[in-house]
Amino acid sequence: MIAAAAAAAGKAAGPEIDWAGLSPLIAVLGGALVVLLLGLVVSRTVRENVVPLLSIASLAIAIGLSVGQWGRREDLIAGALRLDELTLVLTVIFCVAGIATVLLSWRHVAPREAAHGEYHALLLTSIAGMIVLVAAQNLVTVFLGLELLSIPLYVLCATEMRRASSLESGLKYLVVGSLGSAILLYGLAFIYGATGSTDFAGIATALGGDGDLVTDPLLLTGLALAIVGLAFKASVAPFHQWTPDVYEGAPTPVTAFMAVATKAAAFGITLRLLDVALIEAAIDWAPPLAALAAVTIVVGNVGALGQSSLKRLLAYSSVAQAGYMLAGVVVASRLGLQATVFYLAVYVVMNLAAFAVIVARERETPLGDDIASLNGIGATRPLLAWPMTIAMLALAGFPATAGFIGKFYLIESSVNGGYTWLAVFIVVGSMISLAYYLKVIAAIWMTPSETEEGVAPVPAPLPGGDQPVLAGGSDEATGLRAQGEVIAVAVVFGALTLILGVVPSPLFDVVRGAGAALGLL
């Protein structure tokens, strides 16, 4: 395409660039550069306050620019990227998650140790990678976006440099993540080899043109490898095992970001790759994906039982939720696409509420992310107790919360798409999930607190000696009470979970737009 354009012009010319279409991406990348430079400023106020503020500003600008382009459907940069409602709605989701993450890490140890400039620049770069990934409609761009997303995350996981488990988490993620990326790249190469095109439209044409290609071993191997690579990013069983370890070790704000944004990005590209490029091969990939979804639902839900670490619990819960969302992908219909995007949005909201509460309690108690840190907060900290309760109920799919509507939508799409048995798995999985979600609620409301409230929490060593051995581990870092921004995140997203459960129609309208963008039936 580029070559054709160049030939027509008679000289080597770059592709035409639609700056408006790229503007959200540019805003985020520009923000990354600015905060990276500002991080070098000596003034501590600038580093600790201006840098996060600017990060938030650039994300907010990106949200504004995305909303402003709602309804556009165009190819960008010679077809490397696609601007449509799916891209835009996911961009907004990433930026919202990014803003929440910046707020959660405002006074956290991680950016202090890793230097604020770097921490925020990495975060913004990762978001830029996500935007590229979900907009990609070319195999090369897919890989580019995936790596741009992943590499900053490997680093972010290890930003609490003096805590061994944080480093372990980063290293594990790096090693296993590289394996996943390699498999994906291999798969993409096979697909290119079989179809002779890296462009999604070209792949779709090749598959549609020749009936034999759908059974071509080269294509099928590539498909299998690509699915494994994406399943890895989305923590789909049996490729999920890094999830609990990495989630637990990483700094909690980073965990929150990974849990919500990475998953949304992985599902975004999965939807686009499968439903646009490989839609003709749906008879090939739908049944095994359905099997993976079922396995994921079971593994995630039973794995979460008996976890005492809240972050591990939510890690397994995120595995299970990935299984639910995969059901929307499996059916390869517009309804399924809408249900998946709806659930992604809701999933982000409810998880951010839960993680904000974990962050708050990590700072208030010496118990870390142990479930006991929530004991009795129903009586003492209603502003934390209610968002957590709502988030847990929503994750379990309780009526009147957004989670219920999301799950209902997914079940409806599975039944409509002929996968009733998968819908049964979703329901049974939800039943099992109540066992651990209600455990959290029981801790909040029914277990009396052991530590006396009002006494300034003492930074005591964690069981297992994982506490930072940093000499300057000031109580400012661990014993912060002034964390209004964390509570605000919890309250806002908790309220949003409830509001979207009672008034879901605006979100329905948004995902309907996203559903129309891919041209599915």
Partner: protein, 670 residues
């Protein structure tokens, strides 16, 4: 149009706001603040209801059915679940009655509940009830209707069990709730029967569709409508689901006045009137409802002659009067049934308020046998009681006379077997006169009891030891029990005001609809019932004249008989009780309905439950199902955790194994 919708929403939202405000801030309000907030919310709600009425009247005759949709909750899987209100003459009529009477009863409660330790909770519940009831009558589709229906039942439960440390009150609350839930289930099932055919939940659309979808007498529709009748009977305390209402008198007296006389128990009447297009398509179901109504009006009336608990007499009278309404609206006398609903709300609330005043003077004692001679001590209460009693006994020109007669006139006009209803209605009216004035004469005439004497001397009697009037158990006056102080209308302006307004309404309320002279309600409700063939009936002059005379004679005769028996010759009562001992036993034991339900339902269920618990539950459910599934899940959980070794090499291995398996699947399938 927009202002109409806005006012309707405001009518609904003020009580909700009041409930939330009282619940959150009530304890911080000084003194009786919660009561004033609750009453203020109802005043605003009533004002909004009046504004809704005016806005509705501004609409042309053909545009008086307005649906206000707040938002679309979900429209998928073939369900159109919207949060919508239906504003039409019927619902506006209902919100006026509900918010108006509620407003007065709230005002009464400011004083009456004044010394109760649960004062704040009381008003939060009461406002919640009014919100639920308004939601029920304003519902624009079945979904919202069911929500309001269930909320109302829950509010009733909370308020019956309001004195939650009284075992009799909690027992009564549970009984009411169980029977109400039975009705809820019937309503949901009935809705499903209808929804399965018409494919929409919206009320107006359902009626429209039903006319095309169903032939008259369609079996599915009849089944669905009979289920609606069951729901209506449970909520409106009709035979055989009536037993909870008498027990519901365990709640505070304002609750009895508001929920168990004026508003909630009339929900069944509203339901039938609202669903009249369906009932007209299923005449069998409508006849069933009419028969239930006539049975209830006779049976409850006879019980009311025999029971000695002051509030229970009025409760049985309520059942009996609702029997008239159910009979009326089921047989096509829509405007008349709703007219009676309105006048009944006035005079029955008044009677309960007066009874509450007497009970307060008796320091909580409710037994008629221990009362007497309060006429001089409590002139205002006595006056109100007599006005309410005359209206209830349908003595002209009080309001009950016109409304009851209109129902019976239409029964007579329909002819055929409806003549049985016509005759039974007059028999019931005669009984009504007897029991109403039996109650009044026994409480207010004769020798003053010590409590009445004390009051004449200016001392309000206080029991030294507080006891539960139902069981005689000794209680204290802490939270969860009735408060230590009692308040009577003679001393409390707020109570006097509420009772005075209701007394006035009970006297003149009937004038809005006098046969041949005025027809305010008829013409106001006309747009709702426009399509109904039964609505536009011309009554013959002869029937009207005969009915009016007969009604007046029967009502006055009932009062006269009561006077003869309980004032003139008190020993007649004793002799009759001895002479008709079996009959008296039957009435006093409420026709043995409680025992019947106990023998037919409760005992077999308990027995079966015990048996199933011993065998099925222990072995199969607990052992196999629960133990088996949790065992499987637990084993799965430990397997997943065992695989989670923490070693990267295993993770990588599993990824590779998974990848190979997936690839093999693809290749083998190709």
């Amino acid at each position: 149009m927009t202002s109409l919708k806005l006012f309707a929403w405001l009518t609904l939202l003020f009580p909700l706001a009041g409930c939330v405000t009282i619940a959150l801030l009530g304890r911080r309000l000084p003194g009786r603040g919660a009561g004033y907030v609750g009453t203020g919310a109802l005043v605003l709600s009533f004002a909004a209801a009046v504004a809704t009425l005016l806005a509705l009247l501004d609409q042309g005759h053909d545009h008086q059915q307005v649906v206000a949709v707040a938002y679309d909750y979900a429209s998928s899987a073939g369900v159109d679940a919207e949060l919508s209100l239906l504003i039409d003459p019927l619902s506006v009529f209902m919100i006026l009655v509900v918010s108006g009477v509620s407003m007065l009863i709230h005002a009464y409660s400011i004083s009456y509940m004044g010394s109760d330790r649960g004062y704040v909770r009381f008003f939060a519940y009461l406002n919640f009830f009014v919100f639920s009831m308004l939601l029920l009558v304003l519902a624009g589709n079945f979904l919202v209707l069911i929500i309001g229906w269930a909320f109302v039942g829950a509010a009733s439960y909370l308020l019956i069990s309001y004195w939650y440390r009284r075992t009799t009150a909690t027992g009564a609350g549970i009984k009411a709730f169980v029977i109400n839930v039975l009705g809820d289930v019937a309503l949901v099932l009935g809705t499903f029967f209808i929804f399965a055919h018409v494919g929409t939940l919206d009320l107006l659309a359902t009626f429209e569709q039903a006319r095309e979808e169903f032939a008259p007498g369609d079996a599915d529709l009849t089944a669905g409508v009979i289920l609606l009748v069951v729901g209506a009977a449970a909520k409106s305390a009709q035979i055989p689901l009536h037993t909870w209402l008498a027990d519901a008198m365990e709640g505070p007296t304002p609750v009895s006045a508001l929920i168990h006389a004026a508003t909630m128990v009339t929900a069944g009447v509203y339901l039938i009137a609202r669903m009249h297009p369906l009932f007209e398509l299923a005449p069998t179901a409508a006849d069933v409802a009419a028969i239930i109504g006539v049975l209830t009006l006779l049976v409850a009336g006879t019980i009311a002659i025999a029971v000695t608990d002051l509030k229970r007499v009025i409760a049985y009278s309520t059942m009996s009067q609702i029997g008239y309404m159910i009979m009326g609206v089921s047989a096509g006398a829509y405007a008349a049934g709703l007219f009676h609903l309105m006048t009944h709300a006035f005079f029955k609330a008044l009677l309960f308020m007066a009874a509450g005043s007497v009970i307060a003077a008796m320091a909580g004692q409710q037994n008629l046998d221990r009362m007497g001679g309060f006429r001089r001590a409590m002139p205002f209460t006595f006056g109100c009681m007599v006005i309410g009693g005359l209206a209830l006994a349908a003595v002209p020109p009080f309001s009950g006379f016109f409304s009851k007669d209109e129902i019976l006139l239409l029964m007579g006009d329909r002819g055929g077997w409806y003549w049985i209803l016509y005759v039974a209605g007059y028999v019931g009216a005669f009984i009504t006169g007897i029991y109403t004035f039996r109650m009044i004469f026994r409480a207010f005439c004769g020798e003053p009891v010590p409590e009445a004497r004390a009051l004449e001397e200016g001392h309000l009697h206080h029991a030294e030891v507080h006891t539960n009037p139902a069981s005689g158990e000794v209680e204290d006056t802490d939270v969860g029990f009735p408060g230590p102080e009692h308040h009577i209308a003679e001393r409390e302006p707020a109570m006097k005001l509420a009772m005075g307004v209701l007394a006035l309404l009970a006297i003149v309320g009937g004038l809005v609809q006098i046969p041949k002279l005025t027809h305010v309600i008829d013409s106001f409700l006309e747009p709702t019932f426009e399509e109904s063939a039964l609505y536009h009936r011309e009554l013959s002059d002869g029937l009207i004249g005969f009915g009016l005379v007969l009604g007046a004679v029967v009502g006055i005769a009932g009062v006269a008989v009561a006077y003869l028996i309980w004032v003139k010759n008190p020993d007649i009562a004793t002799r009759m009780r001895a002479g008709l001992a079996p009959l008296h036993r039957l009435f006093v034991n409420k026709w043995y309905f409680d025992e019947l339900i106990d023998a037919l339902v409760t005992r077999p269920a308990l027995w079966f439950g015990a048996w199933a618990q011993q065998t099925f539950e222990r072995v199969f459910v607990n052992g196999l199902l629960v133990g088996g599934t949790t065992g499987v899940v637990r084993a799965g959980s430990s397997a997943v955790r065992a695989a989670q070794t923490g070693f990267l090499r295993y993770y990588a291995l599993l990824i590779v194994v998974g990848m190979v398996a997936l690839s093999l699947y693809f290749l083998l399938n190709a």
